[in-house]
């Protein structure tokens, strides 16, 4: 047995163990990427570095055997900094997009590429479900969204962006199921007041209703819809489209109380005591929420915390243009969902009924929480020779214009054809990619050590089930070893040396030739999205 100290705790482990194993036996998890049980584990990625105090050195714990008297730190500042450096170096040489740029640029972070793929496959129902995960009003936004996603589309410089906005509308138009989403939870006994029925209020109510909350929506006007009804001309957004979507929310149980102006007193005396939580979505107002509703300002004089959408009164949240005037309805819709999540968390944590003390942890979601993992790796614009790589998964055809004009939208067939133009530039392993996971955890900056030039990406598609993208590889070589273990005849190999080393297929054979037996194991052991299943749809919600 070997005696050593790990993170100041004495441990006794078997001789021949690595530091990584010894730490695991003491319940300490050290991050790894290139490590894989059953392989030789020749260290490469250096994410598992730990500090050996006696010899004042950093060692890769996955390969360093324990020795008597070792004193190891697995999570000191120095160790974390070194791991961050390693991650930043790897990111500087990692070409690929964790998320498609369309999704990143969508204020609601809608999973556009997946919607496209489902539409292309003719599965409009599931496509609509994907849209509704983030967007409560797919039909309305299918008319009025300015589509920042299309400006970011990787396809744009080639010919034209994928017609995302119309595709979104098509999911709602051509779905075969009900216009009410499936899977609505039973009432949980909680009642929420939503003040305002514009895009933010409707969106908040939608997600609350879906989660089993009762919602009462107040609005000073005669009809619901806010600026969507009163500021947008009919030829842009036909009223029946808006009505249909409001009707859907009503059918989900939303109780609309129109022509109801909420005064300060009414708010304080009726609404506040009467509901488990309140969402303010009144839209832009001349006066501040303190004056209107009697909310207390914080130290800096503001009434709403823009990060978590909470206010000075526990259980009261705000969203939409009341916070800041925004141009895009899609931003308000995204805000509405965030406020709904804030309410849900608040109630789950406090039991509702407007707790007396405001506790930060019980407040809402951080606005950046859902979005912060967007841009761990971003490719930027494609170089012309790279178009071909992405077009392998797409079609070369021009953007489809609806035969009946834009107002008519896509027919089912048009939508399916247009959706096929999507390049699938989003990563197939957005969740299981360890590089992304740790880069996120360690706060690694992708541009920190950026080189003057990025590598040209490539995508090998010849294999039936597997895609290989060289430039997402961190050169750990696990796949080479696993292919060898499976007795692959051709297998994979390291080619070159130093910075230019890469994993290739011997004699310029194809990936199909290389991985006849080991493909699945190689994909599963690959720490990044370099090797992935073609049809993988890991969801990063």
């Amino acid at each position: 047995m070997v005696k050593l100290t790990i993170d100041q705790v004495p441990a006794e482990v078997h001789e021949g163990m690595t530091i990584l194993e010894a730490a695991a036996s003491a319940g300490i998890v050290i991050p790894t990427m290139c490590f894989h049980d059953g392989c030789t584990n020749h260290p490469s990625c250096m994410i598992c570095l730990v500090k050996e105090i006696e010899r004042d050195q950093l060692v890769p714990s996955c390969a360093m055997p324990v020795a008597d008297g070792m004193n190891i730190l697995t999570n000191s500042d120095e160790v974390r900094e070194a791991r961050k450096d390693a991650l930043e170096l790897l990111l500087s040489d990692h070409v690929g997009d964790c998320e498609a740029p369309c999704r990143v640029s969508c204020p609601a972070f809608m999973d556009i590429p997946l919607m496209n793929r489902l539409v292309a496959a003719g599965d409009f129902d599931r496509a609509l479900a994907i849209v509704r995960e983030e967007i409560a009003l797919p039909l309305v936004l299918g008319y009025i969204c300015p589509a920042p996603c299309e400006k970011a589309c990787k396809r744009k410089p080639m010919d034209a962006a994928v017609s995302i906005c119309l595709l979104k509308r098509a999911t709602a138009v051509h779905c075969e199921g009900s216009c009410i989403p499936t899977g609505q939870a039973d009432w949980n006994g909680k009642r929420i007041a939503v003040i305002g029925t514009g895009p933010a209020g409707l969106s908040a109510a939608y997600y609350l209703l879906l989660s089993g909350y009762a919602c009462v929506l107040f609005d000073a006007r005669e009809k619901a819809g806010g600026m969507m009804r009163y500021s947008i001309p009919d030829e842009v957004l036909p009223k029946e489209v808006l009505d249909a979507e409001i009707l859907a929310i009503a059918r989900m149980g939303g109780e609309f109380r129109m022509n109801t102006t909420i005064s300060r007193d009414y708010f304080q005396e009726v609404i506040l005591p009467g509901y488990d939580a309140i969402i303010l979505a009144t839209g832009h107002r001349e006066q501040d929420p303190g004056t209107i509703f009697g909310l207390p300002p914080d130290k800096t004089g503001s009434f709403i915390d823009r990060k978590d959408l909470s206010t000075g009164v526990p259980g009261v949240f705000a969203c939409g243009n009341i916070i800041r005037e925004q141009k895009m309805a899609v931003q308000s819709v995204a805000h509405g969902k965030a406020a709904a999540i804030g309410v849900i968390r608040y109630i789950e944590n406090t039991g509702g009924r407007l707790a007396q003390q405001k506790n930060k942890q019980d407040a809402g979601p951080s606005m950046s929480e859902g979005l912060k993992r967007h841009s761990v790796s971003v490719t930027g614009h494609l170089f012309e020779p790279e178009w071909q790589e992405y077009l392998q998964e797409s079609i070369l055809d021009h953007r489809v214009e609806p035969a009946g004009g834009k107002s008519a939208g896509f027919t089912r067939g048009e939508a399916m054809h247009e959706a096929k133009r999507c390049l699938h530039c989003d990563c197939r392993k957005p969740v299981s990619c360890k590089l992304r996971m740790y880069a996120d955890e360690y706060g690694a900056q992708r541009r920190k050590f950026a080189g003057p030039d990025r590598r040209r990406l490539s995508r090998s598609m010849q294999h039936e089930t597997v895609v290989y993208e060289t430039e997402k590889c961190i050169r750990c070589g696990l796949c080479i070893e696993i292919a060898e273990q499976h007795g692959e005849v051709t297998g994979l190999t390291f080619a070159g040396r130093g910075f230019d080393v890469r994993i290739t297929i011997p004699f310029n054979e194809t990936i199909r030739e290389a991985l006849q037996k080991a493909a699945a194991d190689c994909v599963q052991s690959c720490p990044t999205g370099a090797l992935a299943f073609k049809t993988a749809e890991e969801r990063n919600k």
Partner: protein, 784 residues
Amino acid sequence: MEFSDQQSAGKVDLVVSRHGKSADAVIPILQELQETFNYLPVAALKRVCETTEITPSAISGISTFYTQFRHQPAGKHRIRVCTGTACHVKGALFVYEAFRRELKLKESEDTDAEMRFTIEKVACLGCCTLAPVVRVDEVTYGHVEPGNVGGLLRDFLSRNKHDTVVNNPASTRSGFQGEVRIGLGSCCVASGSSEVKAELEKTLAASGILVDVQQVGCVGICNQVPIMEILKPGEQPAYYAKIRPEEVREVLLSHFRPEGWVNRFRSRFYNIFDQMVANGAPKSFRKYMAEQRDTPLSDFLGPQVNIATENRGVTNPVDFEGYRRTGGFESLRRCLERMTPQQVVDEITGSGLRGRGGAGFPTGRKWQMVRDQQATEKTVICNGDEGDPGAFMDRMLLESYPFRIIEGMLIAGYAAGASQGIFYIRAEYPLAMLRIGEALDICRANGIAGTSVLGSDFTFNIRIFGGAGAFVCGEETALIASVEGKRGLPRMRPPYPVEKGLWDKPTLINNTETLSLVPWIIRHGAPAFSAIGTAGSKGTKVFALAGKVRRGGLIEVPMGITIRQIVEEIGGGIAGNKTFKAVQIGGPSGGCLPASAAGMAIDFEALKEAGTMMGSGGLIVLDESDCMVDIAHYFLSFTQNQSCGRCTFCRIGTRRMLGLLDKIRSGRGVREDLDILEKLAHSTARGSICGLGKTAPNPVLTTLHYFREEYEAHLQGHCPSGKCLPLIRYEVGEGCIGCTKCAQRCPSGAIDFKPYEVHSIDPEKCIKCDICRQICPEDAISVK
């Protein structure tokens, strides 16, 4: 792709049959395939996989790892442009670019359209004193000017090619009047010593003078070569430095009388005739007598202590009897007959000898560790994978003293309880491989290597393994991987090779120079060795002294000598009225020390303290015209290129540091870049697993430490030494006499000229090739 002809497949099969079918035969097989086909055709590689245990994955991985291997056909002749440190500081890149222009090569090409020449950069040809140096096939050209590379190639093509390294078996004739020694190390040959030797033999044959011509190994005095030494009974030895072939006869006749009256008469006649013709022509050579003081020769040799290079310039490298006469194999005999292995280890431990490969691990302790291993099969490896730019000590030792190193290895084997030895020598050192091979044959024939060494019951078999060109294979675990037929990747230590080395058996790896010191230590005893040097570093160290000193060469000096002594006393100070600025010591793993640190006594600890290291012993002297950012960039681009690519920090970190240096060199750097550079340097040193990655940042860190103001100047868009091309421009000054020489040579037509008027350079067209500045007879072209 399949072979279209049976013949090619047959060739492959023949190669395979010579090296066996096991997986570890892959490197020798690839080396021979390349010799056969001039490159590695895919069909040949496939054939190997079909007929051996070597897998496609292995053969692809290995053949793309080592620089020796080519996957595209090469031209008929190879142009190797030395980019070693000495050549770099003397403008090797200008030369390289000039060849590329001459051959009209496009960016990614290395071979001209007619497939006549393939050009490549090599780390060091080991002729640092002739810098810049270019080798075309076997012919070496020194002091190459970028303006005349076309002439060089024409000269090469018109040459009646003959083997420039000729082996002359020791003569057995009697009745000699004396002995003439001529150095035939690689660098001597490059400076023309084989022509001198040819002339010498011609003269001897014609005159009938009977002298013993001894070709000796490296003479070390590279700055004075070709050098001819004449020994005559009753006379002081005389040295003729920088002698030219046409001067040989005159020198010879001034020492020796031709045999027979006819010859004597004829010689006298020709002599008179020659003097009539050549009267007034200045003689290029200098004559120095052995005991004469204050000559460049005595200054150069005086402070040196020859242990590894004992009998320098005296012995013929493969003269077995000669080696024996000077005490050779006495130490081995003493060990075998009068010492137990443990006593041998103790003797080495007591001598204080430390590994000369760079890190300075105590040799005795290493031997003890291997000796203590309970294993039946142990191996000794002589690490001759010297790959530093600007260092060629190992090659010189292997070429010049093969028996001494073999003896050292045998003693190590006996002490450690090993039964086999391997010489790991870079394939780029053909002469070293040849000499060791010859010496091994002689040893085997004389019962010195093989079963029952010197009649004892000690059995030790030695073979040679040709490295295939990867600097990282100097690292011991990478070296082992390469001998096992793998990509040369260093692995984690522990376990150390002394415990688990070649094929997981205990393995003793010693540097060439370390082994070469062993026989002397046994012969003279540990105290004699430890009497030399400093408290922590005993004995001597061989350095390749080059750069901006007057006298460069291979020197062996006692530890503890100061940098100033080396530069000023041995090297004769800085050449050309420039000021001493810095020394780069230890090659790519070492660092730059400023002139102000020249008082430092050289030993392992002192160098480490100063941020550099002994390394393998390159010592390049720099003057004010050398830019320290450029030097850091130079070394980092070397290590970056030689990284095995395994660890993140070394693979990407060195490249990113190089990118930052590029940015700074081109004047685009910002202050923050210096911080990131420094941070990356530290994390790369901390986070890499092998010596290459751990020390690669040293050149950057030392220059940042000692010469930070130069980096700062570059941030301001100014290169104080006028070296960084993007920051400089060429201008014609007042001194221009309008001779048009520069304009005629300018490859880009950038010089506007009218005869007898001051020319001017168009900065838009100027490609900064430096040709005009070098060609200008009036030194009127300056760099701003």
